[in-house]
Symmetry: C2
Subunit: 559 residues, 2 copies
Amino acid sequence: MLTTDWKTLALQAQLIFGKSQSRTLELFPFDSDETLEAFEKLPSAIGKSVTDFGSPAKFPVDKYYETLSKKDVQITEADPVELIQDIKSGKYTCVEVLTSYFHAALIASKVTNCVYEFLPDEALKSARYLDENKDKLVSHCPMFGLPISLKEMIPLTGHSVTHGSLCYLDRVVDYNADIVNILIKNGAVPFVRSTNPQSLMMLECESFTHGRTVNPFNSDLTCGGSSGGEGAINGIHASPIGLGSDIGGSIRCPSAFNGIYGMRTTVGRIPTSDYFSCQMGSESIMSVTGPLTRSLDTLELLMKTVVQEKPWKIDPSLTSIEWRNHARKTPYRIGILKTDGVVTPHPPISRALDIMFEKLQSTDNIEVFEFEPFNHQKAWEIISALYFEDGGDDTRKTLKSTGEPMCPQTEWILGKDSVKRLTVEEIWKWNLEKQKYRKDYLKHWLLFNNTEGNTPMDALIAPVFPGPAAKHRTAKYWGYTAQWNLLDYPVLVFPVTKVDLTKDIPIKDYKPRNEMDEFVYKQYDSPESFENSPISLGIVGLRNSEEQLIDIMKLINRQ
Amino acid sequence: MLTTDWKTLALQAQLIFGKSQSRTLELFPFDSDETLEAFEKLPSAIGKSVTDFGSPAKFPVDKYYETLSKKDVQITEADPVELIQDIKSGKYTCVEVLTSYFHAALIASKVTNCVYEFLPDEALKSARYLDENKDKLVSHCPMFGLPISLKEMIPLTGHSVTHGSLCYLDRVVDYNADIVNILIKNGAVPFVRSTNPQSLMMLECESFTHGRTVNPFNSDLTCGGSSGGEGAINGIHASPIGLGSDIGGSIRCPSAFNGIYGMRTTVGRIPTSDYFSCQMGSESIMSVTGPLTRSLDTLELLMKTVVQEKPWKIDPSLTSIEWRNHARKTPYRIGILKTDGVVTPHPPISRALDIMFEKLQSTDNIEVFEFEPFNHQKAWEIISALYFEDGGDDTRKTLKSTGEPMCPQTEWILGKDSVKRLTVEEIWKWNLEKQKYRKDYLKHWLLFNNTEGNTPMDALIAPVFPGPAAKHRTAKYWGYTAQWNLLDYPVLVFPVTKVDLTKDIPIKDYKPRNEMDEFVYKQYDSPESFENSPISLGIVGLRNSEEQLIDIMKLINRQ
């Protein structure tokens, strides 16, 4: 380690960020001095130190659009899939597109603190290479020239991987993650590494490597986590697509809180096994990679591109399931989960479920009905015991080695009763409970509403979180996401609406079912607290049904 | 538990067997008194008690054919796939076929002690049901009327599952394993439960629930294990096909030692998760189900039948990979592994490898070359640490509860240095080593002999065990099978030849590389010790390539 003093390391982390920002401004200067001046004057979510959370604007997204030039907006607001066509057709060069996205990211970073590190030199080199070899490469590169953002925990040659803990600041890796190599080979240009929180086991985005990332739509709210930087930068449209990872909601919460698409993939579908985190080697519950993006077509493009590369020939933990094109003729049968029976969703979420129910009733080729959950409380009991088989010691040691303080959310999750060191026999016991629960749930799923000779339910629309984007340091109920990690079901998060100040009135005199339900209920004090927050839901399918979820989503969007 | 005295339980286990044998003789009497008399006079591998190993004939298979009636031979020696056609066409009824197989199993059981329990009542009921409902069922049942044997550890309603340990003799289960239900649905008739050894972690077949199962081709040799009863009963042709399980060689050793086909499937391809064993809930190394049979076509039929039932809709641990028909046009590239670099194979195995090398050189659509192994010693180091994460305590406790003595082979495996209780961090460490080794090996496999722009190696022909069927209590080197469990690669075992008394002369003055190599070397004292033993090899493929292995095998067999 460079030093065992966390404060020195925190300064160095800031320096890494600062240098990469200066270099970006040098290689990709704003088009005018006016823009630069406006950029410098922006209310900043980046504080003077990593314990200072800055003074962000209430609605950072407004500042973003006020600052970004028209030319940059034209590029960054184009649908990324169309943008790739524009590059291929010669309307833009890869360097031009990259330049606009760097401008967007600089501004987004300032107003939300979503960037851990810019990658100006590597990205410029890649974009130039693509431009110079366009004739040769363009036909083999479905993502030709598309910038891509990467969660900080994803290994990238020549950069340190901290996953939010300062003691790893000098762990500079000498390889790219397999998925990064695949994307680069297919024309993508990594341009930004996005922020992730301390320990990664947090549905928010606070760490001593970067401070706090705020929600672009309301800075009083969290951007979610742990792929929090990805949520914010994609939510504000300063990245066309990014990669996150998810072991308990870490792709889905940031997607939901920022009103974008995000997919928790099935374990073994796309490469993840070469990332860094705490508890490495723990296999009872596995983390997965997935895309976060505002564009469903771009999400599909990325998934298809990665799977078509047969990544199982690189990473033996993957399953050789080709990308399957869906041309379904019989109607999809879709359930709606109104509550998990443990924590009641807030009014805007319930409204979103009603919107979807109504919409689906009038969507061609879809049948919709209400789904009854099956013992979701038990799922949390099992998964929370298996997250930290060492009782959290690895995480604690990681922090202790530099004296790095524990963030309140880290302290909270490690302090839970369910988190304790397990014996071999206890691990086995919980694994058996997991196996049994998975089997019981599958049976429930396939039999549900299947009395009249119907085909089984294809997918389920469910909350991703009990409320809109949470107030800082209050995102404590993981049940609506961790449920599907335990079952290893893929989930596609999608935006539905925004908090409505007149419609989303708190429920009065609600009688909570339990302590967590009460805590969550109390958070929703008024719609004003959540003004402008996106409201999202997720569509859940059985294992390895990613293609089907995308197909259903397209049907719904066409409506 | 019924009692804590293992001797009382051992008597009860014998009683279960004895009753089921009497009932079989009652429901399926031999065709003549002569046959019955001959049966009663057979040299028996079933002792007076479970610690008595009887007095089997030197070559049990000869006694078997001397005893079995012509009519029974006609049925039991037919290729099972053709037999199904004969039932479908009306040449035989299901009950007739079952009757002959029961006669064969009664004799096989006597001469080798391969049957744990006969299933006369259930099987008769099933066969009658199929006969009575033939018109309705026959077109939906690809395995219509085919008897099937099941390793004792596979749950079957109304029967106890001991997996070789007496303390579980009263664990009567109330369900069939999923795969059993699938096979029954498709017309198969479970008729026999076959023997398995104490603790299942043994490449032989000794337990205090049944005694010792001997090799039908030479009773001085083991039938292999842990699916030992399956190996013997299928090797002698008294079952058309059976199911075993494999975590370190338990399908492949019995297949090799008995000269039949046997397949270690990829984890997640066909149902296994509802079986019983010790160390349940341990997920670092997973056991898999697979077929053992003398008929490649029947093996393919079973695999295809199970996968086409989409078993992932019953068992969520399975992967939704359909059965893929192979119609490969470019040549298969096949490596030959002459030694794993740890233990040198015995002369008959080396001869079998040479036979195959020569044969493949003249096989259409196949290219053959020698393959260099990649650090197989390391694989054993990793897998042997992960087999018993509890240091073997569960197995020890299982025995201790009834005072059941430890079989020498159980004692040997539990006494190895690598077997010790692991902490959470040690489990993680070994899992990481496993992940790294898997990735390195895949890279080695795909790059091997690939310098001139060749396509990668498709499959590898390798020893399954360093020698022919081992002498009792000497099958101690697991390296040639456990290697592929660690990598989770499927392996199809196939018969090549038999020990040749003139050709298979021991190597003189061999200098062993290590202690295990020396032990193994010394076992092969003369070809006479292994007279009549089958010699088999295995063909290994990358994960989920079961169809391809079968396709290659068909090509080879056609030669």
